[in-house]
């Protein structure tokens, strides 16, 4: 960690030179860390492109006078170790004043300390692991924010799992659920919070299973689901395994819906699973396509001609990047339009205070760094598309 402190000092020197030369022409880099290759790349590329769009918008409207934003996107392939390397690389680049990412909660765990030591603001559009903002003991009621530089525009598993449980029990009238998770931070957290709420409502968990995220053959588990008599399956995990799992369930003649979280709500899921009709997924916020505030984002994304769709987290990524831009703007405004020596630490404080109407609704952060937006939507696969089933605001 000593080396990181040194790089933080280095950035101070550089910024002095930059701000001393001229008010105009300062370059601020927003780092992106997401899986840009590998089986989660559909989600990761959506994040990268959406951040790129936010940066282009800020540059073209001269959002922060005298500051030109640039993107530096690094690939973590969805794994903690490359994510950690990327974090050190981004910290070393003195022009980086904020990070958008990562996609995976397990990757975030490996990066938080590094960014925190460097006082570098990190906003994840997708992490839902509760402990990331509320500490390991959140479940027992002791909420302690471990890292003050970490924020997220996504809601947590503590909201998403129970929201799904209420939908299945109250709206879909399912009382016997088979629970499967992939043992990753995200999947296991989702499954655990789902289970707590579902049993509290009076539903029964008729079976529990764990898979490996790389498994593609689920025949043994499918057989257990069949004999358990479940009327729905809840899966904590992501689409690369959820797709074949649901397909193999249906191929075995089990005509019950598979429900999951936002890691499943990808167009790839439907592509990988021709029998996905009726499957359900929750996602944070309201449908990006339906929000009036999102129309501009959707149109801008289409006009920019990105090869990959913005996917589940596009709106949140845009808002994350915009929150950093707003943070930089506030820091510059408080310092006569120039970026101060300790811009990184000041941006962290400024991001904590941002409040604006973004793509996904109002963007602001609570005392843990969590989004104050607790709106969720249940999506259902209908005719080869994720269609909005119902939306609501989560209350404890």
């Amino acid at each position: 960690m000593g080396a990181l402190t040194v790089t933080a000092c280095g950035s101070r020197n550089h910024d002095k030179g930059g701000s001393g030369s001229a008010a105009s022409g300062t370059t601020v880099v927003i780092g992106v860390d997401a899986p840009l290759t590998g089986d989660l790349s559909a989600l990761g590329l959506g994040i990268k492109n959406s951040v790129d769009l936010a940066i282009k918008t800020a540059n073209s409207t001269n959002e922060v006078p005298g500051v030109k934003f640039e993107i530096e996107a690094l690939d973590d392939t969805g794994k903690p170790a490359p994510g950690q390397q990327n974090a050190t690389q981004l910290v070393a680049d003195k022009k980086v004043l904020g990070i958008v990412g990562p996609l995976n909660s397990s990757v975030a765990q490996s990066m938080q300390q590094i960014f925190n030591d460097a006082n570098l603001a990190e906003i994840s559009p997708a992490n839902t692991g509760v402990a990331l903002t509320q500490g390991e003991k959140w479940a027992s009621g002791t909420k302690v924010r471990p890292f003050k530089s970490y924020f997220r525009t996504a809601t947590t598993d503590a909201v998403q799992g129970p929201f799904a449980a209420r939908y299945l029990y109250n709206d879909a009238k399912k009382s016997k659920v088979f629970l499967i998770d992939d043992q990753k931070t995200y999947g296991a957290g989702l499954a655990a919070t789902f289970k707590g709420e579902f049993t509290k409502l009076g539903g029964t968990i008729v079976g529990e299973e764990h898979v490996n995220p790389d498994d593609r053959d689920f025949s043994a588990i499918v057989t257990k689901v069949k004999s358990s008599g479940a009327d729905a399956v809840y899966y904590g995990g992501e689409y690369p395994a959820a797709g074949p799992l649901s397909l193999q369930l249906k191929n075995a003649g089990i005509a019950v819906p598979l429900m999951g979280g936002d890691g499943m709500q990808s167009a790839e899921y439907i592509k990988l699973n021709p029998k996905s009709q009726g499957d359900l997924a929750t996602a944070v916020g309201l449908s990006v396509g339906k929000l009036p505030s999102a129309a501009k984002f959707v149109a801008g994304y289409a006009a920019a001609g990105y090869k990959d769709p913005y996917e589940t987290y596009g709106g949140y990524s845009y808002d994350s990047a915009w929150a950093i831009i707003q943070g930089v703007k506030a820091v510059a405004a408080a310092n006569n339009g120039k970026l101060p020596d300790d811009a990184r630490a000041k941006v962290v404080d400024a991001v904590q205070k941002v409040s604006f109407n973004g793509v996904t609704g109002k963007v602001s952060f609570d005392e843990y760094g969590d989004t104050t937006n607790k709106q969720l939507t249940v999506y259902k696969v209908d005719g080869g598309k994720w269609a909005v089933e119902t939306s609501g605001t989560f209350t404890d």
């Binding site: 898979v211 490996n212 593609r216 025949s219 043994a220 057989t223 257990k224 004999s227 191929n251 075995a252």
Partner: protein, 309 residues
Amino acid sequence: MHELPQQLANGLILGALYGLVAIGYTMVYGIVQLINFAHGEIFMVGGFGALTAYLALPGGTTLWLAIPLMLLAGILVSTLVAVAAERFAYRPLRGAPRLAPLITAIGLSIVLQQLVFSFYPNAKKARVFPRIPGDPLQILGTTIQRSDLFLIAAAPICMLILGWFVTRTRSGRAMQATSQDPDTAKLMGIDTDRIIVMAFAIGAAFAAVAAVAYGLRTGQVDFRMGFILGLKAFTAAVLGGIGNIYGAMVGGIVLGLAEGLATAYIQHLPGMHLFGGGAWKDVWAFVLLIVVLLVRPQGLLGERVADRA
């Protein structure tokens, strides 16, 4: 116990898949004593070869026509890659210490993965593989997916052909001779280089059949699919007795059954409820391997020299 027949069927089908890939490990080991760790990737490129053939066919081609063509393309690609690997990566190291070709194999495996990853269109994420449409079949109280019919038919046919080839044909007998004593075989006028190439080619062809079966079964192929399956197949080969072709298939099936049964039943044993379920299936598969190797170090069927090919 009402799910037992289904779990047995699952295990048999999965095991047949492992067995088909295991043949490649066992044949190459039997002849050149090399553990070809790139074999999982030979399997993977076979899957992509078959996918390419499918994409090249005009839309709406019936699967009755498409599957044989995909199979041909998969076998062609796998075999070419395996033969090229033998010629350019392994043959120059024939006289080198054992460790050198082993490391080469691991390197080759990474190269093949990265080549597909970098140059096959859209292979950075899983590619959708065609499936056999239709409802599952109900046979003897078990549910069998339509897509698994291909594997159920292909695995025994492949084994019969291989058994006939090794014991009845001139080349097959030459292969047995080479595996027993390469030097003497050479003195008897057998072109051992040709035999070695043949072993690689046959293993690759089997891997391609398995890759088509895997694609049909899971509905997708991706550049990493050979890694885990390759490891499992290698385990199956060792379990059955490496170097023995029937052992490879037996080892595969035992491994498949062990995984299915461990997932279903271990947690119902008293005191074992924490160690059951899908998360532990690989652990139990390897426990079985260790136990078998402790009791029978030569594997289930052993290295019966006469059958070694």
